[in-house]
Amino acid sequence: MNSTLRWKLLTVFAVFVIFFAVGVYPILAARYRLPAPGWLTERQLKLGLDLKGGVHLVLRVQTDDALKIMTTTTSEQLRESLRTANVPVSAITVTSPTTFRVEGIAGDRDAEFRKIAGDLTSANYDNVAGAGGAYDFKMKPNIERDTREQAVVQAMQTIDRRVNELGVAEPNISRYGVAGDQILVQLPGESDVARAKSIISNTALLELKIVEAGPAPTKEALLQSFNGQVPPDMDVVTGATGSADAPTSFYLVHKVAGITGRDLRNAKPSLDENNRPAVSFSLTPAGSRKFGKLTGENIGRQLAIILDNRVKSAPRIDGRITDEGKIYGSFTNEEVDTLSLVLRSGALPASLTYLEERVIGPSLGADSIRAGVLSSLVGLSLIVAFMLFYYKVSGINAIVALIMNLVILLGLMAYIGATMTLPGIAGFVLTMGIGVDSNVLIFERIKEELAAGKGVRASINAGFGRVFWTLLDTHVASLISAMFLFMFGTGPIRGFAMTLTIGLLTNLFTSIFVSKTLFEFELTQRHAATATLSI
């Protein structure tokens, strides 16, 4: 045996040992309780949601919400600035999430209006002058795009924090689909889908606003002293729902919030003075200053605590408060837990809707694993039987290459942290059937060369040499389609594309390098000149 061959055999052996240790041994160790060092099991092949069981959610971020908030805020700021500068307008209305309209600007104040509006809005809005002193403001396209993008990114971060608080191991939160506004949330091992959903999509929009009037039993009663009109800088917000002990009530509050959820530093469950569940919160330093100013200036008035556009309670401000407060008003213990969790993790920038929802129970996942393992074993046995029957001793060569292929595939997948899914198992089984094709092509060529009267060594060399380019071409063609599968795929299908791609790459190595080395080894064991090949 020459030294090149010895090195090749050593390489084959080393590759086998390494990938077996990484890819296969941890699985066997877990199954049969064999001893395994921690650093090895750490990198164990990850199972996808369809095998492990869990919750799979696809959400859409209603990015229009974020645009609308921005447009409303800008139009209110403009109203405020115009009032300070004493420029009268007849109306400022938000006409769509990205547009608002200002009407009734007197001709002689036009220049002044343009200056104020320009200073305040020109960074984000374009405006067009209409007839009769009206202006239409429209959000700039790049600002709209950025705001939408930001809303999705922020929503993902918020969901990430909330899911972490839920204590789910290895959650997956990622962008989904091509539209750009969808988020995939995968929670392995979770089965309480209702709770997961309510925590993830709870907007938790907390606002503290000064109450101008109310509570009143009807909207009309509330607006009696305002001639039935809602003042332009005010909003009507409903209070508790109309149950027997807490009939529906209406509040007239300032449009601009004194404090919002963003000013919160922490929130935790506690009790109110009547020992009912409540959430106590503390504020950031900036929030404290704002809160101190707000409460100091409004002693004796009511402060509405508004959660998701509903007044939870409206306590009277007794004195200046700076850094702490309590949210109370008919909560259950569970609601208080959820509310403090979502307040801690921050508000969502926009509301979320669910597009897709899958729950895979652990028993279904286990069934799939069983089916996957069974079909792998059946597929492998069939192919092994066929190769031995058809190619005799050389069949062993192909089988060794095939098993190497599968071991390297599993090892690589574990090493790079790929996820095994049920379609991934299908890809694994197909890799057997398709991978062994390379050996078939080589063997058939060797047979042909032998039949043409070439010697064994020459036939083997010719077989491997000539088929190499064919194999390269077939593998590239398959890789091209696997690549686009990746692009198309989501979750489980990606697992399939991954298995297929890695399987194709390792197959090139095993069918050419491993198989050739085995043939060379075989040849050294006998007298090459007189040798025959069992093929």
Binding site: D50, R60, V178, A179, S198, T353, Y354, E356, E357, R358, V359, G361, L364, D367, S368, R370, A371, L374, S375, S376, V378, G379, L382, I383, F386, M387, Y390, Y391, K392, L422, P423, A426, L430, M432, G433, I434, V436, V440, E444, K447, E448, R466, W469, T470, D473, T474, V476, A477, S478, L479, I480, S481, A482, F484, L485, F488, P492, I493, A497, L500
Partner: protein, 330 residues
């Protein structure tokens, strides 16, 4: 051992029959799809699937009865069927509608189904899995699936054109499109749901079915250098015969693994495995009959146009073959 001893079948002679047969299958399949539609998996159609496990054997009829009684709107459009191993007493219920795509209400239908089963007199129904897909998901997937398939075909066309010549690339891609259409036809005949997994199988076939074609084309190119240049039909026919046993064996091993999946891979992979089985068979058939036929037809046409331009008949294929002598063929 050898399946075929020096085979010498005249495949090329049968090309028009083969093309006719393929057209019949494809047209019948398209008619079927046009008439009855392709059954869509829940990912594409949207809807609600609830998989329920019972303590004791529960008849599909009993489940349907419970739905008829208590599900608002009845179980008229519901598909109820056994799921997985019969010993597990599992039933799958598929309803075409979902809750509204607003807020968290998507799961309302699933909740209604579960509630209806609980009300019925059934042996302890436990929900082991649900799958709820809103209507907006499907359209996006369809677009993406078609795009991915078209791009994959385009990529393969360019690659083969680079490595061989354009007529070969055309032959390979037409053969692959043929395989996709035949596979779709069989999906329609056997009423398999078009699911994400099935699309994955179809894309896999796109790559796999070119493999046999490449093997044959490689041999054609090798033979072109040694044989008479003007006899493209003879050259191709020889190549198909020379590679016949490997074409059959490679398809055979792939088929073995696909059949293992079909029979043992479980409920979820059934459609996938069926698609692979059909794709592997038609892929082999089209490599032998369709791909080569297209090359002959295309080159014949070119030769005739070339001859029309007063070029000597025998020089045209010689020029074609000599144009890309890029490497040694296998």
């Amino acid at each position: 051992m050898q399946i075929f001893h020096n085979p010498n079948y005249n495949f090329v002679k049968w090309r028009w029959h083969a093309i006719a047969l393929s057209w019949i299958i494809v047209i019948a399949g398209l008619l079927m799809i046009w008439q009855k539609g392709l059954p869509l998996g829940i990912e594409f159609s949207g809807g609600t699937i609830v998989i329920v496990k019972f303590d004791a054997r529960t008849d599909v009829q009993q489940v349907r009865h419970a739905l008829d009684q208590s599900l608002p709107g009845g179980g008229e459009n519901a598909v109820v069927q056994g799921y997985g191993d019969p010993g597990q007493n599992q039933v799958m219920i598929r309803v075409p509608h979902v809750g509204a795509e607003t807020g968290t209400s998507l799961s309302e239908t699933a909740d209604a189904v579960t509630a209806a089963l609980k009300k019925g007199n059934l042996s302890n129904p436990q929900v082991v899995g649900t799958e709820i897909v809103g209507p907006s998901v499907g359209q996006q997937l369809t677009r993406q699936g078609i795009l991915a398939t078209v791009l994959a075909l385009g990529g393969i066309l360019v690659y083969i054109a680079m490595r061989f010549q354009f007529s070969f690339a055309l032959g390979a891609v037409v053969a692959t499109i043929h395989d996709l259409l035949v596979t779709l036809a069989f999906l329609a005949f056997f009423r398999y749901d078009l699911s994400l997994n099935v699309i994955a199988a179809i894309l896999t076939i796109t790559g796999y079915s070119t493999n046999d074609t490449i093997v044959i084309f490689d041999r054609v190119r090798e033979n072109m250098r040694s044989s008479r240049r003007d006899d493209i039909e003879g050259t191709i026919n020889t190549a198909v015969n020379q590679t016949l046993s490997r074409t059959v064996i490679t398809a055979g091993t792939a088929l073995l693994s696909a059949l293992a999946l079909f029979f043992f891979g479980g409920e979820v992979l059934h459609g996938f495995a069926f698609t692979m089985v059909v794709g592997i068979i038609t892929g082999t058939y089209s490599s032998v009959f369709i791909a080569a036929a297209i090359v002959i037809i295309w080159q014949g046409r070119r030769r005739r146009t070339a001859a029309g331009k007063t070029q000597p008949v025998s020089a045209a294929p010689a020029a074609t073959a000599a144009r890309k002598p890029k490497r040694r063929a296998s």
